[in-house]
């Protein structure tokens, strides 16, 4: 299999087939929290793409060049959390300085990327699968794209739901969760569309 094809499969697999939110159910907190407006969802997607790509690159280096040689594979989760947390803090500060409107729109959810299991999840997955560096970064990038894709679709649906008239007890997050479930159901159609190399 030529390399380009392989990369394409990684991207399609991470965006559609094994979508982080709709298939692996990672990153559900921002998925529900920042999906009320499409604009905010787009901003959040951008932030996640950035954080996830950079984080996976950093964690890969950390894992391969520091932890593995020292035989410290068992504490990689701890180390990853540390790195990711400070990275997010850094982005938070930078964003506040350079794009304040986006910072204001993302509000509490930007620091929440720290605890976004998708970020840690992708680092863990790369670590577990022993993916090479370039593919790790690509996979993380694609996974974040998939997260963003799902988030933006979902925000569109929720904007439509804002005009809907569900029964009182289902208003707000309840009906959003049902919608997310149905969206996940729809994405099951991509099941097995491509065979992931790992």
């Amino acid at each position: 299999m030529c390399a380009v094809m392989r990369y394409l499969i990684i991207i399609v697999g991470a965006v559609l087939v094994n979508n982080f939110v709709l298939n692996r159910f990672l990153g559900c907190c921002p998925f529900l929290g920042v999906s009320k407006k499409t604009e905010t969802a787009l901003g959040m997607s951008g932030a996640v793409v950035f954080v996830m790509t950079v984080a996976s690159a950093v964690t890969w280096c950390l894992d391969h060049w520091l932890l593995d040689p020292l035989g410290l594979g068992y504490i990689h989760t701890l180390a990853f959390i540390l790195v990711i947390a400070s990275l997010v803090q850094f982005i938070d500060i930078a964003m506040k300085r350079f794009v304040p409107p986006l910072h204001a729109a993302l509000g509490i959810f930007l620091p929440l990327i720290t605890t976004n299991c998708a970020v840690l999840g992708v680092a863990e997955l790369n670590c577990k699968n022993g993916t090479p560096f370039l593919e790790s970064v690509l996979f993380s990038f694609a996974a974040a794209l998939g997260f963003g894709f799902a988030l933006v679709i979902f925000s569109g649906l929720r904007e439509k739901l804002a005009w809907a008239d569900p029964p009182r007890c289902f208003r707000g997050i309840a009906v959003a969760l049902v919608t997310a479930g149905l969206l996940s159901l729809a994405f099951m159609g991509f099941n097995g569309l491509v065979k992931l190399p790992y």
Binding site: G156, L161, A164, D165, P167, L182, A186, M188, N191, V194
Partner: protein, 327 residues
């Protein structure tokens, strides 16, 4: 003391004071009428059980809708026939041999979870019939993909073979040495003498119904043409199985003409409809032709995914007002 009211009051309302002869129930009735030929074909090919299954689905939908409205303390909306349409569409997308209770469950899911939970007709983001079908397919994969009773005959070379698979399942399996372009096969596919869901087999009956809907101006040409056109072109460039076989087999025609054109879950503008139709066709063919894909048929999933994208498509295909000046 209240002053005496003058005689009977006139009605006061905002203009316009004239209205076209159109109503939601009339539209739904038109869809039901348009689906009747397909239902008749289903009954002809699969026997009375198909009719029974259809009745069950419709009854389940009606009862669920009524109960939901009652529980929500809202007006009863059974009279707008939308529940009948959903029940009918769901049944037409089920294999004729599905256990009756599963069909009923599908109806309950369609009405309860996919429609009334969002507030009823007009608010559901996904096509209820398709969501219910997908739900059944995921939950009961076996019964939903078993085709036992009605067998169709196909000839490969000089050998006549009887199979219980659907044409798409055969394509997926890669029926070796099979001549897909033979006239008899195309004819069977067109008439509906193949295995498949109750309502999807006969392209002829479905096209008659679609023509009726177009004539009644219930649907526009955009989605069906874009959908089927994309499937055709994709199959043409992909090679192998003739495009016509792809178009005529499985749920392509019923999906393009009846499911994707569902008002509530498809874009409102003509451009949006074209994008929607193309997207449906593309995803359908991706799922159908992926060698490792889990499903031989992708119509319902493709429409569901495009349903999810509909709000975004609407957002980016807003019409430009007459005389709008670019800012």
């Amino acid at each position: 003391m209240k002053p005496k009211d003058t005689s009977e009051h006139y009605i006061l309302s905002s203009s316009p004071h004239a209205h076209a002869d159109a109503s939601t129930s009339r539209i739904m009735l038109d869809v039901i009428i348009a689906l009747l030929p397909a239902l008749c074909c289903g009954v002809y090919f699969f026997g009375l059980r198909a009719l029974f299954l259809t009745g069950t689905c419709i009854a389940a939908c009606l009862v669920t809708e009524g109960l939901c409205r009652l529980a929500m303390k809202r007006n009863n909306t059974i009279g707008d026939f939308s529940a009948v349409v959903t029940g009918l569409l769901l049944a037409l997308n089920l294999p004729p041999d599905l256990p009756v209770w599963m069909a009923a469950l599908g109806g309950v899911f369609a009405m309860g979870v996919c429609k009334q939970l969002f507030g009823g007709l007009g608010y559901n983001p996904f096509n209820p019939a398709l969501a219910a079908r997908a739900f059944l397919l995921i939950s009961f994969t076996g019964p939903m993909t078993t085709w036992t009773k009605s067998a169709w005959t196909l000839s490969a070379g000089n050998v006549e073979a009887t199979t219980t698979a659907t044409p798409l399942a055969l394509i997926k399996k890669g029926a070796e040495g099979f001549d897909w372009s033979q006239a008899a096969l195309i004819k069977d596919l067109f008439i509906g003498n193949v295995n498949g869901c109750i309502g999807e087999v006969s392209a002829l009956a479905l096209l008659i119904g679609a023509a009726y809907l177009l004539w009644r101006k219930v649907i526009t040409w955009h989605i069906p043409v874009a959908f089927i056109g994309t499937v055709f072109l994709y199959a043409m460039f992909k090679g192998g199985v003739p495009p016509l076989v792809h178009v005529l087999s499985g749920g392509c025609v019923i999906g393009a003409c009846f499911m994707a054109t569902d008002y509530v879950t498809s874009p409102i503008t003509a451009n949006g409809k074209l994008i929607f139709g193309c997207g449906c066709g593309l995803i359908t063919m991706l799922i159908r032709t992926a060698p490792t894909g889990a499903y031989p048929e992708g119509v319902s999933f493709s429409i569901l995914i495009m349903n999810a994208l509909t709000p975004l498509i609407n957002r980016f295909t807003q019409p430009k007002p007459f005389g709008k000046v670019k800012k």
